[in-house]
């Protein structure tokens, strides 16, 4: 299946590539003050949007883009641009409601200190003029290039009455470690037929899980937003859909989730220092929470100490749980990596598990924000730092929301009683009631260790659901009357 390659020039680059060579990024949350001018802005912007097509360089290798620009729209942004009203309901329900809507927040665990009312942006019922309409994502090889790219883009905002509500700078450090000190971004599915490297066949996922218009893991075309034929005055979109006769607005597009997750690094370090005696035990327990050592070596392969032999790219993700770690004595059942990708161990049987798990995968495209807390520091320095979580998926509720609700924050995950993801879960706060306090069970023979009242180390600070239109769909939007 190499359909996506055929349409690569139409697919926004961020869907297909993580741009490892562009570690500096910025995220601009925009509000459209004038629909007509916003459409003009979009028309001028679209030629600069990075597609997925890679031209061959002189040696015949695909050329990497020197910088990247991608653009995504919220539901209110698409509506503000004048998308034909009767067809708005063809966008997925969760996208229409938005991340901050009550029942969505409930299922995401965005309650208490994570509640949308406390977000810095994207929260529920923003005043007029504060609504997030679009997200502009810039990626560059180094800070100066990013700065000049940002300047270029910003210089047009005033003319087209595009107002920047928030801008966040992201960074992917060379060692690829997030703020708690662990190598991140290791487990990543690959799109079947994409030219990217192949690690493990278990990670090869049908294109329709990440790009609309292709078969998904059920062998079905994912639901797609539609547009009326008469709105496509410049004929940017493909032939009409058979089922409805309307145009397929979603084809070669996808949905994007953005979450600004603040990490309390001092609290994380303090927890292990005050709960366990001795440095060895402290680092082992932190690794047990994550499921990997700081180097990225998985506990299932390296159970006793951080063994860099298992941190190499070729081996750090080539493992299954059932053969040697079925009961979690190495990598605990409730650890972060076992929840976010249960691999062969979701159910008793490996093949069945892999099929079910691969119906709930996401493509992560995140970065870190803020300066690192220097090693050896256990007091909070008052600086904000954390993770900018971005993920691409064709069905937000079946993929991102499912992972968050049924795996990350489910106290009953895999037979457990009262545990949530000990790293990113909605855990115990000072104001938590009895029912909101959660444990972490460390499997061990003969007797497990039950750690009570796991503090919450990660707090949701803002975010939204976006649609990542194909490049022709961007042109269609820009041409709306």
């Amino acid at each position: 299946m190499d359909l996506p390659r055929v349409h690569a020039k139409d697919i926004q680059g961020i869907i297909v590539s993580g741009y490892e060579h562009l570690p500096c990024s910025s995220y601009h949350f925009l509000n459209f003050e004038s629909p007509a001018k916003a459409r003009r802005w979009l028309r001028i912007l679209t030629p600069r949007v990075t597609g997925s097509e890679r031209k061959a360089d002189r040696s015949g290798r695909p050329e990497k883009p020197a910088a990247a620009l991608n653009v995504a729209l919220t539901f209110s942004g698409i509506r503000a641009l004048g998308f034909p009203e009767p067809f708005l309901k063809t966008f997925s329900e969760e996208f229409r409601q938005g991340m901050a809507e009550g029942t969505r927040a409930q299922r995401l665990g965005d309650t208490g200190s994570n509640a949308p009312e406390r977000w810095e942006f994207g929260g529920s019922l923003p005043p007029r003029g504060e609504e997030v309409h679009a997200l502009l994502i810039l990626q560059a090889p180094e800070p100066a290039a990013l700065a000049s790219q940002g300047e270029t883009e910003r210089s047009g905002f005033a003319e087209w009455e595009v107002r920047e509500l928030v801008a966040i700078k992201g960074d992917r450090p060379k060692d690829a470690r997030e703020h708690f000190g662990f190598r991140d971004g290791i487990s990543q599915p690959e799109i079947t037929g994409s030219p990217a490297r192949r690690t493990d066949p278990a990670d090869a996922i049908e294109p329709g899980e990440f790009i609309l218009g292709y078969a998904n893991s059920y062998g079905m075309l994912p639901p797609t937003p539609e547009a009326p034929r008469e709105a496509d005055t410049e004929r940017h979109l493909d032939a009409p859909l058979q089922a409805t006769g309307a145009l397929d607005f979603g084809r070669n597009g996808s949905y994007l989730v953005f979450r600004k997750l603040q990490q309390d690094v001092a609290a994380f370090r303090q927890y292990f220092r005050s709960t366990f005696t001795g440095e060895a035990a402290q680092s082992l327990m932190a690794a047990k929470f994550v499921g990997r050592w700081p180097s990225g070596a998985p506990l299932t392969l390296a159970p006793n100490h951080d063994d860099t032999a298992f941190a190499a790219k070729e081996v750090n993700n080539s493992f299954a749980f059932l053969p040697e770690d079925e009961f979690g004595y190495r990598c605990p059942i409730g650890s972060h990596i076992r929840r976010t990708n249960p691999r062969d161990a979701l159910r008793g049987e490996a093949q069945e598990s892999l099929i079910a798990v691969n119906r709930h995968r996401i493509l992560r495209r995140g970065a870190s924000y803020g300066e690192r807390l220097p090693e050896g520091i256990f007091e909070d320095d008052g600086e904000a730092r954390g993770l900018l979580f971005l993920c691409v998926n064709a069905d937000i509720k079946r993929q991102f929301e499912f992972v968050q609700q049924t795996w990350v924050n489910n106290p009953k995950f895999h037979g457990l009683y009262n545990d949530r993801d000990p790293v990113i879960g909605t855990n115990t706060n000072p104001d938590s009631t009895v029912g909101e306090r959660h444990d972490m069970t460390i499997q061990a023979v003969p007797i497990r260790k039950r750690l009570a009242d796991i503090p919450q180390f990660v707090t949701m600070r803002g975010g939204a659901y976006f649609f990542l239109p194909s490049i022709p769909a961007l042109r269609f939007l820009a041409a709306l009357a």
């Binding site: 309901k89 329900e93 009550g102 029942t103 409930q106 299922r107 059920y218 062998g219 079905m220 075309l221 994912p222 639901p223 058979q242 089922a243 409805t244 709960t275 005696t277 082992l284 327990m285 047990k288 159970p303 006793n304 299954a320 059932l322 053969p323 079925e326 009961f327 979690g328 004595y329 605990p332 059942i333 062969d344 008793g348 049987e349 490996a350 093949q351 069945e352 119906r359 509720k397 079946r398 499912f402 609700q405 049924t406 489910n410 106290p411 009953k412 895999h414 037979g415 457990l416 009683y417 069970t441 460390i442 499997q443 061990a444 023979v445 003969p446 007797i447 497990r448 260790k449 039950r450």
Partner: protein
């Protein structure tokens, strides 16, 4: 060893008097908002009740006006349960049912009258049209399940004291991984392929057919009612397709399905999240009712149907109008048809609301081991913090 007590279900559907509709819904909502502490109707005063629900069924095709559905899953025989309800909840039930047509005032206050009422109005399968009734742990009374929860909590507290505060981990026990991951299936054989094709043909499913775009129209209150953290209820009323084929295939499905037995860990066809559920034909053969008390989110529950039991789903629901042409594996269309026919419970009671089927299974491993000396290996795993799923 206690006498083995069977679990049974009772469902009564009565038309709501039009003038009472609004007041009744407000009354029920007040109960439902505080099911464990309201002053009107407290199912926790009835020790035999496992689950109970009140649902307002809004206009279903072929049936006029809103109707009130009551169902409960309980220990023992319906006669005894009628007495228990009348004794402990008589006035609360009276206050609700007096707003329904066909209900004689005072019935719920009189144990004998309530028994007669149930015999007359409770949905009952017939030999020709059986029901599929699923129960995770036949024989486990509500009382016993609650005792096992307490026993397990005490047991874990003991383990906490034993495990102290030193670092955990250490080498896996000898043979811990024996047999794990080797039970891979060899792919479907001819007979299962043939069986699937046969079912596809019977219910008219075309594999790979997609319904195209589905527009979901669920209201927010429905969502809130279906996403409680641990347990949820589902009530689906779907219209049976006209014609002899649907009539025959559905009876066949019910005939086969009525023998569906849970595994020792409470799973049905690998689905580990059903406490109690049933399919039963109602309204003189026009509609099919599905009621379920399940664990976890709505999405994951329906995904389990698609992942593990899609043949059964096709065989049953394939006989109902609106069922996707591609079968239950056209998961988006399947979810849409479920949603479109779903009626949220206004009141949903559980005798053990924080406990999943898998939790109950593990609670019993602990309890059984204390009373008798069996299940040594399972208990060893539980002590080590691994709670077996099967």
């Amino acid at each position: 060893m206690a006498r083995r007590v069977a679990q049974n279900a009772v469902t009564v559907i009565l038309p709501i008097l039009p003038a009472s509709r609004l007041g009744l819904e407000i009354h029920l909502r007040m109960i439902g908002d505080d099911v464990m502490a309201n002053t009107q109707l407290r199912f926790d005063s009835t020790p035999s009740t496992h689950f109970a629900r009140w649902v307002v069924l809004k206009s279903i095709s072929g049936e006029s006006g809103a109707r009130l559905l009551f169902s409960a899953w309980f220990d023992g025989e319906l006669e005894d349960y009628a007495r228990e309800l009348s004794k402990n909840l008589g006035s609360g039930l009276e206050e609700i049912w007096r707003h329904c047509r066909g209900y004689a005032p005072g019935t719920a206050l009189n144990p004998d009258a309530l028994e007669v009422f149930f015999r007359e109005f409770a949905l009952a399968p017939t030999r020709l049209t059986p029901q599929i009734s699923l129960c995770a742990f036949p024989g486990a009374t509500a009382r016993r399940i609650r005792e096992a929860i307490r026993a397990r909590e005490a047991f874990e507290d003991d383990l906490d004291r034993l495990s102290g505060s030193g670092p955990a981990g250490g080498p896996p026990p000898p043979g811990a991984s024996s047999g794990a991951g080797t039970a891979g299936s060899n792919g479907p054989g001819f007979s299962s392929w043939f069986f699937r094709r046969l079912i596809d043909w019977l219910v008219g499913v075309r594999r790979g057919a997609s319904e195209g775009n589905s527009v979901v129209t669920t209201s927010t209150p429905d969502r809130e009612a279906e996403d409680r953290v641990v347990q949820n209820s589902m009530t689906i009323v779907s219209e049976i397709k006209p014609g002899i084929r649907a009539w025959l295939v559905l009876r066949l499905a019910l005939l086969i399905g009525q023998f569906n037995k849970p595994s020792p860990s409470g799973q049905h066809s690998g689905v580990s999240t059903i406490h109690f559920a049933r399919w039963i034909v109602i309204d003189g053969g026009r509609n099919l009712l599905f009621e379920s008390n399940y664990d976890g989110s709505w999405e994951s529950y329906i995904d389990d149907f698609g992942d593990l039991a899609h043949i059964g789903m096709d065989l049953i629901w394939g006989n109902c109008t609106g069922f996707p042409k591609g079968g239950s594996l056209d998961i988006d269309a399947f979810k849409k048809v479920i949603r479109d026919h779903q009626h949220p419970a206004v009141v949903f009671y559980s005798a053990y609301p924080a406990t999943t089927v898998t939790n109950i299974f593990n609670d019993q491993i602990i309890e059984n081991d204390r009373s008798s000396a069996g299940r040594g290996r399972a208990l060893e795993l539980v002590k080590s913090g691994y709670y077996p799923l099967t």
